[in-house]
Symmetry: C2
Subunit: 361 residues, 2 copies
C-alpha cells in the first residue's frame, strides 16, 4: 500500500493506494464518527457496497444509491442526498463515503461540503478517471447550462483507492480514465507521456496500472498543493477541458464519457498549440494512440458557434473571452486567451484534419 | 462612519457602518470586478436598488430580484440565481452584492459561495436583524425538513451597512431585529442587556440604534473570529435558536419572523436555565419587555413531540440528542445536552407559564 499526503488549507489528507484495501477501510479511518452515509451508484453499489458496510459492524451505516451516469450529477440528486442525510439523522460528526467514479465523488463531495455547512467525507474512487477527481477537493454538480458550475473547494478527509476494484471496469471506462492520465503526463512529464503512448488499453497489467495511477496522482496532488483554489497553476489541469466540457454539454451529458471528451480536447489543444507556437508537438502520435485504443474521434458535424458559446460557460472564461490551456512543449503548459474568431478557425481546421484522417483510414 | 475589521481564515474583511454610505459603495470596494450582480427582494429593490446601481456607471451591473420573505430562501431560488449568474455571463472575477435582509444575505451568499466554486460577495444588510446574519460568513438555504441545513462557511468580501436604509423598516422587522441584539447582550454583556430592556421599540432614536448595532456587531464578530466554523464558542450565538428554529419550521416559514421566533426561544432558554441551574435570571424582565414591545408570545397550542422532532434537525444535535445553549448567568452561556423527556417537561412548564401570564393580563 502506498500513502501520499496532500497539504490543503483546511487540513492535510492522506491518499491510500493499494490492492484490496477496501476491506481495511475501518483501520485507515482515524476518527470516530456518529454515523456514516455511503453514497454510490447502482452499478458500483451492487459490486462493492457490502465490502464497505462490513467494515463497520458497530456503527450506524446508511446508504444512498443514485442512478448510474453523468445525468445524476445534478440538483435533483444533490437535494435527494441532503434529504436522505437529514432523514437518516446525520449530524456534524457524521461521515459521508463517496464510493464510485467521478460522478459519485463530485456529487457526494458537494453534498458533504454543504450539509450543515460541511461535514467530513472520504473519497473511495472505483474508476481510473477518479484518480483525478478524488484528489484536490473540487466537488460540484452540473447546471443545465454548463458542467460543474455549482460547487466548492472542499478537501476530503481521506482518499482510499482500492486498485483491485478497477478490475470490473468496462473498456470504455478504462479509456475514459486514461485520458486524464495522458493529460497529467502532457502538462508535467514527457517520460511518463511516452510510457503511456506505449500502453495498449485492452491488456494493461495490474502493476502497470498502479504505476500509472500513482504517477498521475503525484502530478495532480503536487499541483493542487501549490494552488488549491485554482488562481494559478491549477488551471493547467484543465488541458483538454475547454473543448472537452463543451462537447459533453453539446452532445448531452452521458452521450460521451468525460474522459473521451477530454481526449478529443487534448488533441485539439495540441492542434491549437502547434499553430500558436509554430512548434512540433505530439499531435500525430497522440492521434494514433487514441485511434488505436478506440477513442471516438468522429465529431465532424460540430456547430462551431454553439460550441464556442458553451466554451464560454467554462470557469476559466474572463470578460467573456475563452481562456484555453495550451502547451509550449510537453511539460510547459500555458493559459492563453483566444478570441471567438480565432477559435472558430481552429475548430474548423481541427475537424477538417480529423475528417481527412478518417478518409485515409 | 465606523469600520470594524473581522479576521477570517480565508481573508479578513471590513464592516462599514454609517448613514447614507450606500451612495459611496464604489469608494468602499477595493477590487475591480468584471461584472456585478445585485441580488435583492422585491420590497428592498424598489426602495434601494437604484441607489446601488448608480455607484457603477461604467460597469456591467445586473439584477436578480426574488420575492419577499423566508420562503425565498430555498433550493428553487438558489438555482434561479445560478441560472441568472450564468446567463448574465458572471465569471470568477465577478461580484455578487446581497442587498437586503437576512433572507437575501443568506441566499445570495450561498449562491456566491458555490457559483463556479466561489466568487466574491458583499453584504449590504438593510434590516436590523441582518447586522447578525451579514457578519460571520454563515450562508445557507432551508431544506423543507429544517432551517439552514444546506450551506457553507464563506466570508464576504465586505459588509456595507447603511443605517439610513433602516428607516423604512416595519415595526415587525424592528422587533425581529432587536431579538438578536438581546441575544448578543445576554451571552456577552449585562450592561448592554439592561440598556436594551429600557428601549421602547416604537421610538428608538437613530443614534441609539446605531449604538446598539455597533455593540451587537462587535460581540458577534469577536465570537466568530475565535471560532469561525462553530466547533466551540460560536455555538453560544445559537441562544434561543433551538426552540426558535423549531417554531419557524412548525408554524411554516414566514408565519412568524425569525427574530420573533428567537425572542420566544430566548425566553425559553431563560426558563430552562433557571430550572437547570436553580439560579435567578432575568426571565420576568425579559418577558415584560417582549410583551410591552408586542412580540407574539401566544404559542399555547404547541405539539411538544413535533417540536422536539424539529429541534433534532438543529445543527448542534449530536447522536440524536438536543444540544441547547443555556445561561448560567448573563454573559456566561453554556451548551447543555437535554434529553427528550426533560425537554418535553420544560416545554410544558414553559407554555403553562405563558398561559398563566396571559390570563393575568
Ligand atoms: N472533481 C474533479 O477534480 C474532477 C476531475 C476529473 C473529472 N471529474 C468528473 O468525474 C466525472 C467522470 O468520472 P467517471 O468517469 O469516474 O464517471 P462515473 O462515475 O460515471 O463512472 C463511469 C462508469 O463506471 C461505472 N463504474 C464505476 N466504478 C466501477 C467499477 N469499479 N467497476 C465497474 N464499473 C464501474 C459507473 O457505474 C459508471 O457507469 C465527470 O462528471 C467529471 O466532470 C471531476
Ligand atoms: N447567516 C446568519 O448568521 C444568520 C443569522 C441570523 C439570521 N439569519 C437568517 O436571516 C433571516 C431573517 O432575516 P431578516 O429578518 O432580515 O428577513 P428578511 O430578509 O426577510 O427581511 C425582513 C422583511 O423586511 C423587508 N425589508 C428589508 N429591508 C428593508 C428596509 N430597509 N425597509 C423596509 N423593508 C425592508 C424585507 O423585504 C422583508 O419583508 C432568516 O432566514 C435567518 O435564518 C442568518
Ligand atoms: Zn477531467
Ligand atoms: Zn438568528
Amino acid at each position: 500500500m502506498e500513502r501520499i499526503l496532500v497539504k490543503a488549507s483546511k487540513h492535510s489528507y492522506p491518499i491510500f493506494i493499494g490492492e484490496n484495501i477496501r476491506f481495511r477501510l475501518n483501520k485507515l479511518i482515524e476518527k470516530k464518527y456518529s454515523s456514516i452515509l455511503i453514497v454510490s451508484d447502482e452499478k458500483v453499489a451492487e459490486l462493492y457496497v457490502n465490502d464497505i458496510v462490513t467494515n463497520f459492524p458497530d456503527e450506524k451505516v446508511f446508504q444512498s444509491i443514485i442512478p448510474v451516469g453523468e445525468q445524476s450529477k445534478r440538483l435533483e440528486y444533490y437535494y435527494q442526498l441532503q434529504t436522505d442525510a437529514i432523514q437518516f439523522g446525520l449530524d456534524r460528526e457524521s461521515l459521508i463515503i463517496a464510493l464510485g467514479g467521478g460522478v459519485v465523488g463530485d456529487l457526494a463531495g458537494f453534498a458533504a461540503a454543504t450539509y450543515m455547512r460541511g461535514i467530513d467525507y472520504i473519497q473511495m474512487p472505483t474508476t481510473i478517471l477518479a484518480h483525478d477527481s478524488s484528489v484536490g477537493g473540487k466537488v460540484a454538480i452540473n447546471h443545465e447550462l454548463g458542467k460543474n458550475l455549482i460547487g466548492s473547494f472542499y478537501p476530503p478527509a481521506a482518499v482510499v483507492y482500492d486498485t483491485q476494484s478497477l478490475e470490473t471496469l468496462s473498456e470504455k471506462d478504462i479509456r475514459s480514465g486514461y485520458a486524464e492520465l495522458v493529460k497529467e503526463a502532457l502538462i508535467a512529464d514527457e517520460v511518463f507521456f511516452n510510457k503511456l503512448l506505449n500502453v495498449n488499453l485492452i491488456n494493461v497489467k495490474n502493476n502497470q496500472l498502479e504505476e500509472h495511477l500513482s504517477a498521475g496522482i503525484k502530478i495532480k496532488s503536487s499541483v493542487v498543493e501549490i494552488d488549491e483554489q485554482e488562481s494559478g497553476v491549477r488551471k493547467n489541469l484543465n488541458l483538454g477541458h475547454t473543448l472537452g466540457h463543451a462537447l459533453e454539454a453539446e452532445l448531452g451529458y452521458g452521450e460521451i464519457t468525460h474522459g473521451e471528451a477530454v481526449a478529443i480536447g487534448l488533441l485539439f489543444s495540441l492542434h491549437v498549440s502547434e499553430s500558436t507556437f509554430s512548434s512540433k508537438l505530439p499531435y500525430d502520435s497522440t492521434f494514433q494512440w487514441l485511434k488505436k485504443n478506440n477513442y471516438p474521434l468522429n465529431i465532424l458535424q460540430l456547430n462551431e458557434d454553439s460550441i464556442i458559446k458553451k466554451m464560454k460557460t467554462d470557469k476559466k472564461t474572463l470578460n467573456n473571452t475563452i481562456q484555453m490551456v495550451l502547451l509550449k512543449e510537453i511539460g510547459k503548459p500555458i493559459v492563453q486567451e483566444i478570441n471567438d474568431y480565432d477559435m472558430k478557425i481552429y475548430l474548423k481546421s481541427f475537424t477538417k484534419k480529423l475528417e481527412i484522417a478518417s478518409l485515409v483510414e
